[in-house]
């Protein structure tokens, strides 16, 4: 069993949306603007033409933060949200009653409603597709043109992700909330 996490070298991101399309194709996500497990947050540039502040414009790829201390899991009344054997935060659609507490609880706004199944959906690190087939990458990691992502087992000290986290400065989002995300952003 593994404890999966992901490191994002977000400065590489060019907001090309390859990750989003790969995720949709891999996981059969419904098309439509409200349906996506993964996205790139963008911040509009500041300043007036021609004096624009380049540094103020950034692209931040995001998705479920796979918190070790997930608020969504805590509030779920039916235990539909659970940790799987690889510590991935998953949603069991059979147990989900669409009360949407988890959506309210998630500080990262990472969950949405799948109109087809009428259940809450979100990133699961391709647990029931690629990982289930024995592959060792997620669709987004694999396809990314500028190689933003490193996916791997945080419990394995020899894994690349462990090595990167040992050697490079990084941060997590909203760390003050104590959610202990397993998505790490390289500075």
């Amino acid at each position: 069993m593994a404890r999966y996490g992901m490191v994002l070298d977000y400065k590489n991101c060019i907001n090309c949306k390859a990750c989003e399309t790969a995720c949709k194709e891999e996981n059969g996500i419904l098309l439509g603007a409200d349906n996506h497990r993964i996205w790139v947050g963008t911040k509009e540039i500041e300043g007036e033409f021609p004096f624009l502040n380049i540094a103020s414009n950034n692209f931040l790829p995001s998705q479920c933060q796979q918190c070790a201390n997930a608020p969504c899991q805590e509030v779920c009344p039916t235990n539909a949200t659970y940790y799987d054997e690889n510590s991935v935060v998953r949603v069991d659609p059979d147990k989900c009653i669409l009360c949407s507490y988890c959506m309210t609880a998630c500080p990262y706004d990472a969950r949405y409603v799948d109109d087809r199944t009428k259940t809450v959906d979100k990133c699961n690190f391709c647990a029931d597709t690629r990982i289930a087939r024995g592959e060792t990458t997620t669709a987004c990691q694999n396809t990314c043109p500028t190689k933003v992502r490193i996916f791997g087992d945080l419990d394995d000290p020899n894994s690349e992700i462990s090595e990167v986290l040992r050697t490079r400065d990084h941060f997590t989002l909203k760390s003050h909330l104590g959610t202990d995300p397993r998505l790490f952003y390289l500075t």
Partner: protein, 815 residues
């Protein structure tokens, strides 16, 4: 740090265009439900055993990235990157991932069609392939009889693609028409030729090793090019590569720049000349490299200095400050030879474009960054076996019609000039018919009204495509091609510092009644050959002389031996031809590897390694072809750490130019009325009148021109295009975000929604190319946004006859 992380904020935001697009998506909410069609994606299987992986090559844009098609029960469920290809370096972009939608698009052309309505109204009847071929054959025989076997009375065009040459072989070598037009003159003709004539080749920008890059008008974060895009953005943002972006718009590429300079549209040449002036007057150039490798340098230096192309002069024209010009010139040379003035791709901008590209090439050469790691490298190309064509000779076929339209009209023609000759009745002989393969001139050639008129004049228009495009709606006969995932294409060798051979294989069988173009050419050739042979016998005196007095059997033998059987070169399957081309040079083991891995190069088994989750090795560093121009330098010379990099750059080279050196002066061009050295010409510059705007166009990472206009998944990311207009100008004119505005030029007007932004200057308007289809048969793509070519004026660049697409003056108003 302050960053946007919320998905909901992302949806509601009014920031980037695509974000706006997503929040106002009409696609999932209205169109698909109204049409009762199901679009979407399939979840991939969790069972490894149900999956077959087929290595192939993407065709969603021109890059040809290596992909694995995952096939489950004969259905392609996912496309993943194939790591073996050094060019695409294990990536697949949004379009690459959305390739499945091209295969399963419900609007695909499924059967051969013959027009029953008026041209352009989209009414067709389904016919068999044989009926379609017969229809074409009869019309062709009639036209050619009336034109006395002048084969050139049938024009033909093609978009870029791996089977383009199969089609061209048929139309040019077998059928015998000289009137070919392709994408070059609306795309990269000026830069490819500008660099080739100056340094001997277009080369490849070695962005993996460059320390300083000036990228002007090239938008590699959005118009993705492999490997440039991947190599560049891993090193920007103070991580090894300094990037200077020169662009009238603030793009996603500019977001990664160290400096962004909004240049006045159409003045890039003045900027490069001023940069050159600084380098020459301050003597910052690589003197050894210049002395050994540049021809006509003193003359060029004298020309630049005596013309007073000073930064002060350029500031007035370009709007870029003197201090910036000086700084860039100095910084560039400080980092040279690992410094590149990026060549660019779709360079059909202004009338002065060819000289701009020459000036850029010379500027890079002044630093010594040609044929040098970190500069522009030529690399190596792995040879493929030969494939000979039995091409007939037609005595009555005439030369192309637009030869006089520019100084140099090459084999791929000038699209605008060619079309205008037909429309304006200025063709030396009538163009009676047109074959269109994988191109959509109705949306891709400036001044769409005229393109429509051109098609209306034709007696026969045949379109071979996968989708019912706007151009297909102008056809008499539509022949449905299968998509790239359903066919094997000609094997291709990709040159560069890490050369390889790659193969597109079919992931699944052709759906409906679609066929690959090689089979279409075989079928059409079989049907047309004899009727056209009769026409040739009737009008071609050379043939008449040859067959005079011969028996029927001897004439038949002559017909076959001399290639008049139009189908004979297409009798073998593409797979057989590819096998032959590879095995002839590399043997059967190489062919096996190529089919299994999708990619082949020498020593691949030893060299190719996975280094980490994101890194691969294709060639070890010391085996790459960064410098190849002159073979006598042993490779170890270049890897001897005792040798100074600047010293290496100056080693005498031999470029593929007439003198073997970088050509500062091209006297043979002067004979054709073209300046022998890059020179700014005021009279060739279109100034923007006060209160009006210059219109510019460009591309985007989630859309490839108009071939992707009906792709459900890509439309999901971006359903329509928006007009970029400066926020303050928009305010003055009462235009707010989402308002419908009308943009009008000399040649037409369009309506589009507005996107007021500070990312564009006061006198410039922009929207993305590839939208605005009017074909009702594209149920998702029709009427989304606007087509730029409805308003772009048909201005011809005078050296190669390229389209000058950024010369159009427009006005805008709220409707």
């Amino acid at each position: 740090m302050q960053v946007e992380i919320s998905r909901r904020k992302f949806l509601q935001g009014t920031v980037a265009l695509s974000v706006i697009a997503a929040s106002t998506s009409a696609l999932s909410n209205t169109k698909s439900q109204n049409d009762k069609k199901t679009f979407g994606t399939t979840k991939t299987s969790n069972n490894k055993n149900e999956i077959k992986i087929v290595p192939t090559l993407c065709e969603m844009c021109v890059n040809k990235c290596a992909a694995y098609a995952r096939v489950e029960n004969n259905v392609v469920t996912k496309l993943d990157p194939n790591p073996h290809f050094p060019k695409s370096q294990n990536m697949l972009c949004a379009r690459g991932n959305a390739g499945i939608q091209a295969l399963y698009d419900p609007d695909r052309l499924k059967y051969p069609l013959i027009r029953v309505g008026k041209r352009g109204d989209g009414k067709y009847k389904r016919v068999t392939w044989d009926e379609a071929y017969s229809h074409i054959s009869e019309k062709m025989a009639k036209i050619l009889d009336e034109e006395k076997d002048n084969r050139s009375c049938i024009g033909y065009c093609a978009g870029e693609g791996m089977a383009e040459h199969t089609y061209k072989t048929f139309m040019q070598d077998k059928f015998g028409s000289s009137n070919f037009v392709n994408h070059s003159s609306i795309c990269l003709q000026t830069t490819v030729s500008g660099y080739a004539l100056t340094i001997g080749g277009y080369g490849q920008a070695d962005l993996e090793n460059a320390e300083y890059i000036i990228m002007a008008g090239a938008n590699r974060a959005e118009a993705i090019v492999t490997p440039d895009t991947m190599e560049l953005f891993k090193r920007t943002k103070r991580r090894g590569a300094k990037l200077i972006v020169i662009d009238p718009r603030f793009t996603n590429t500019a977001a990664h720049a160290d400096d962004w300079l909004p240049v006045e549209v159409g003045t890039d040449l003045a900027l490069v000349l001023a940069l050159t002036y600084v380098v020459l007057t301050e003597e910052l150039y690589n003197k050894k490299f210049v002395a050994l490798n540049m021809n006509g340098f003193e003359e060029y230096k004298e020309h630049i200095i005596s013309s007073s192309y000073t930064p002060e002069w350029a500031e007035k024209i370009t709007g870029i400050k003197v201090s910036k010009i000086k700084k860039i010139a100095r910084d560039f040379m400080h980092h040279a030879p690992k410094a590149i003035y990026y060549q660019g791709r779709r360079t059909a901008w202004s009338k002065q474009d060819f000289q701009l590209r020459r000036a850029q090439a010379i500027f890079t050469a002044l630093g010594g960054g040609i044929d040098k790691e970190g500069g522009i490298v030529f690399g190596k190309k792995l040879p493929l076996g030969s494939h000979s064509i039995n091409a007939p000779i037609y005595a009555n076929a005439e030369g192309r019609i637009e030869k006089d339209a520019a100084a140099i009209i090459g084999g791929s023609g000038s699209w605008i000039a060619w079309r205008n000759k037909v429309v304006e009745d200025k063709s030396p002989y009538p163009i009676r018919g047109m074959f269109v393969y994988k191109q959509n001139p109705m949306l891709s050639i400036p001044n769409a009204k005229k393109t429509k008129q051109m098609f209306e004049k034709m007696d026969l228009v045949v379109v071979i495509d996968t989708m019912p495009s706007d151009t297909a709606m102008m056809a008499d006969v539509i022949l449905p091609e299968c998509t790239y995932l359903e066919r094997e294409d000609p094997v291709k060798s990709f040159g560069g510092a890490q050369p390889s051979i790659a193969l597109r294989q079919a992931a699944t069988k052709p759906m409906y009644e679609t066929k690959p173009v090689i089979e279409i050419m075989h079928g059409l050739g079989s049907k047309m050959a004899k009727p056209l042979w009769e026409v040739t016998k009737k009008h071609d005196e050379d043939v008449q002389d040859e067959i005079e007095g011969k028996s029927e059997a001897e004439i038949e033998a002559y017909y076959k031996e001399n290639g008049f059987d139009l189908s004979d070169d297409f009798a073998h399957s593409q797979e057989e031809i590819n096998k032959h081309m590879v095995e002839e040079v590399y043997g059967s083991e190489a062919w096996k590897i190529l089919r299994e891995k999708g990619v082949y190069y020498l020593n691949m088994d030893k060299y190719f390694k996975k280094l980490s989750s994101n890194e691969y090795q294709w060639y070890p560093r010391d085996r790459r072809f960064y410098s190849v121009v002159r073979g006598e330098f042993k490779s170890d010379v270049f890897h001897d750490t005792c040798v100074n990099e600047k010293e290496i750059a100056v080693l005498k080279k031999e470029f593929k130019t007439p003198t073997g050196k970088v050509e500062c002066v091209l006297n043979n061009l002067a004979k054709k009325g073209v300046d022998s050295m890059p020179k700014w010409r005021d009279e060739m510059y279109t100034a923007t009148p006060k209160g009006k705007f210059k219109f510019i166009t460009g591309r985007h990472g989630q859309f490839t021109q108009n071939a992707t206009s009906n792709n459900a998944m890509l439309l999901d990311l971006m359903p329509e295009n928006y007009l970029w207009i400066n926020k303050r100008i928009a305010k003055d004119r009462g235009i707010e975000f989402g308002d419908t505005v009308e943009v009008e030029s000399n040649v037409g007007k369009i309506q589009i929604k507005a996107y007021p932004t500070e990312k564009i200057g006061f006198n410039t308007l922009f929207f993305i190319h590839g939208f605005g289809s009017t074909s009702d048969n594209l149920t998702l793509g029709v009427d989304n946004g606007a087509s730029d070519n409805e308003i772009i004026d048909d201005v011809i660049e005078p050296v190669f006859g390229s389209a000058a697409m950024h010369e159009t003056i427009v006005d805008v108003r709220k409707v």
